[in-house]
């Protein structure tokens, strides 16, 4: 048992650091530091940049274009990525639909979809939740009825993140209503969003931002070759996907750098005031969050090590989702407390690159802290709410 990095690991770290310091688009890092929202063009640009580096898909097998990293390399990469505040990968293509296609799809589907996911030529979004199917996902109603060599798709998907920019959506749809278990009639279908009958309506979240959407499908014709795997097996595939989603969800490296930033800022003093770090109550909460972080980090490393030894990420990866999101929300609160009054001004217009510093309200990103806090309430709700994660652990790990 040891935590030492090999010489190869150290060399890998310096290669990753060099990439982020030199080859990664530096204007995007500047926006990230200043918490300026990234434009769709920014997102496309950096994904294409990392594709050129050969690192578009850390988790994919090499034969499909993955980076071929071991678990320590993935850890180092995430650490360096967070160190410079680089944005996380958009998960919908590379982390979500990609693994489903290379695991369950046919050769034609792999050839047709995987290269464009890697190169970010296609923007994917996720079609799981419906207005009537949230935590109870198996109650989904969107129908795909076979009509010759096409499915006719009708229904509504919701909470579709960044769906307003997406080219394609992967959906869980009901292809058979005449089944003993609801889960059995569900299939996994890829739908081109740029066609008649698909409409996207914005949902504005509590922070005032347009991040998610409702997507409506009205008699949309989808060729049968867009069905992934077997008809009626979509539920099983989707569950595999959710487990992949959960292993990356801990957000250890981001939380580490946010806590470091918080400590650094708390030690500083504004106009000679007593530094926040001298507030015992506050700094003890920071210390407690740091312990939570360390626990999470080692639980994730243990999970990665078990995956590396050939085991699939099991249901215990649900712990990572719960603990990771709770920690993220706890740090959000600390950031808000650190900002105090300056968490209150709602001044979105100053979050642009050329905003004059002397006109900026609050120090650094104080005024964004409350919006992050509000927005992040979602993290304990999405990807299977934390209560659903507890149900999963109860059933599949503890055997209750």
């Amino acid at each position: 048992m040891n935590v030492t990095f090999t010489a190869d690991d150290v060399a890998f770290r310096s290669e990753v650091r060099d990439y982020f310091e030199n080859d990664f688009p530096q204007d995007i890092l500047e926006k990230q530091r200043k918490e300026i929202p990234l434009e769709p063009e920014d997102l496309i640009r950096w994904h294409k940049n990392i594709f050129e580096k050969g690192w578009a898909a850390p988790n994919w097998p090499v034969e499909h274009g993955g980076a071929g990293w071991n678990s320590v390399q993935k850890y180092i990469f995430a650490d360096e990525q967070a160190r410079v505040n680089a944005p996380p990968y958009l998960p919908f293509g590379v982390s979500m639909v990609g693994p489903i296609i290379y695991t369950f799809g046919n050769e034609e589907q792999k050839r047709r979809f995987l290269p464009d996911i890697l190169e970010f030529n296609t923007w994917w979004c996720q079609g799981y939740s419906e207005p009537g199917a949230g935590s109870d996902l198996a109650s989904l109603k969107m129908r795909a009825d076979l009509d010759g060599d096409h499915f006719i798709v009708n229904g509504t998907k919701t909470w579709t993140t960044l769906g307003q920019f997406a080219d394609w959506i992967f959906c869980l749809v009901r292809t058979n209503s005449d089944v003993a278990r609801r889960q059995e009639g569900i299939s996994f279908l890829l739908v081109d969003m740029k066609q008649p009958g698909v409409s996207v309506k914005p949902i504005i979240l509590l922070d005032g931002e347009h991040e998610v959407n409702e997507v409506h499908f009205e008699n949309v014709r989808v060729p049968v070759e867009n069905l992934v795997g077997e008809e009626g097996k979509g539920w099983t595939y989707g569950k595999v996907l959710l487990q992949h989603e959960r292993t990356g969800i801990a957000g250890v490296a981001q939380s580490r750098y946010r806590l470091q930033r918080l400590r650094r800022r708390a030690r500083g003093s504004i106009k000679g005031a007593v530094p926040l770090a001298e507030d015992r109550n506050f700094i003890r909460k920071v210390a407690a969050a740091e312990v939570e972080l360390k626990a999470l980090e080692y639980t994730e490393l243990r999970t990665l090590a078990s995956v590396a030894s050939g085991k699939a990420p099991g249901p215990e990866s649900s712990i990572l989702k719960i603990a990771g999101t709770e920690l993220r929300q706890a740090i959000d609160v600390l950031d808000v407390e650190a900002a105090a009054y300056y968490a209150l001004p709602y001044v979105r217009d100053q979050y642009v690159l050329d905003f004059p510093k002397q006109q900026s309200i609050g120090s650094e990103t104080d005024t964004n802290s409350s919006l992050v806090y509000f927005n992040d309430r979602k993290v304990s709700i999405f990807g299977g709410s934390n209560e659903i994660q507890k149900n999963i652990i109860a059933k599949h790990v503890l055997g209750l």
Binding site: M1, N2, V3, T4, F5, S71, V72, Y75, R280, I283, R284, V286, A287, A288, E290, V291, E292, K294, A295, L296, E297, Y298, T299, L301, R302, A305, E316, I319, I322, A323, E387, K390, N391, I393, A394, V397, L398, G399, L400
Partner: protein, 374 residues
Amino acid sequence: MDFSLNEVQMMLADSIEKFVSNDYDFESRQEYSGSETGYSEAVWQTFADLGWTSVPFSEDDGGFGGGPIDMMVVMERLGRGLIVEPYLANVVLAGGVLSRTANSAQKDRWLSAVIAGKLQATLAFVEPQARYDITNVTTSATSNGDSWTLNGSKGFVLNGGNADLLIVPARTSGDQVDSNGISLFGVDADAAGLSIRDYHTIDGQRAAEISLQDVQVVADQLIGGIGDGFAALDGALDDATLAVSAEAVGIMTALTEKTIEYAKSRVQFGVPISSFQALQHRMVEMYTACEQSRSLLMWAAMTVAEGSDESKRAVHSAKYQIGIAGKRVGEEAVQIHGGMGVTWELDVAHYFKRLTAITLMFGNADWHLDRLAD
């Protein structure tokens, strides 16, 4: 990065697990705990014969040459077994000081005997006024040339009533809370002027209040240099903090498993109570608390093993976590066991009490968090 145990560690784990499951059931534990000494001398001799008392000591000192990870393996399993034998006092505390700072004659005389199971020892690191501050030492030692005179009192001396040898930190210079000026003395239990008031502790173990009145100690019973005992004391206490953290992880795991098992078998309203979501989520939280504690424990053990700059921080983090998680897991185990959980008859209550004792020893959660906040 590697989280697996090596072959030797797996054999060590296996031998302790076998001993616990074959030879140390709860009834035996209760019998040993209630005996005159509060432990079984025969069991202790078995520990020595099987080499468990030698684990943390170097081969030069007649030990097994193990480190923090080996000790984690041992303590976790002693925790699961709810062992009352004085391993912590002898091996971790007294042994920890002796191996760090005793001269070779002292090691031959004392450490070898501890390893062989022939000498009961302890470290009197608490004073009644000191709470968790080990630098707070008022017990004094004054030099008479070739001997020392000790005066003062020590509290909560684990295994104090059984000990043949008490290692006593005493002040030879400096202020009351100065880390410099603390010297360590090996005091024989039958020394004139030493009085020992032995008592039971809430977790079925034994401790004692000790007072020293003009106790004479010859020069070769000074362990280490004059006034520089703190480093060895502090090192041994860090070892002990990590050791009880591992013991707590073993206990929490046992409590979580026992609670799940009980909930599946206990029927109310015509169904097992494990089918109730209110209880399921609480058991998930117990499980999560165990696993998060285990992760921190592994980090701390590996960090200390590597002698990294982070090791002090890692030990504080692990013990803070144990303080929080141990309380939660212990209380939930009792709650979910319902009426049975509050009976003396069931082992659950005794695991809970040992866990409670651990949360209060070597710094509680607040104390460790304060060190981390600095």
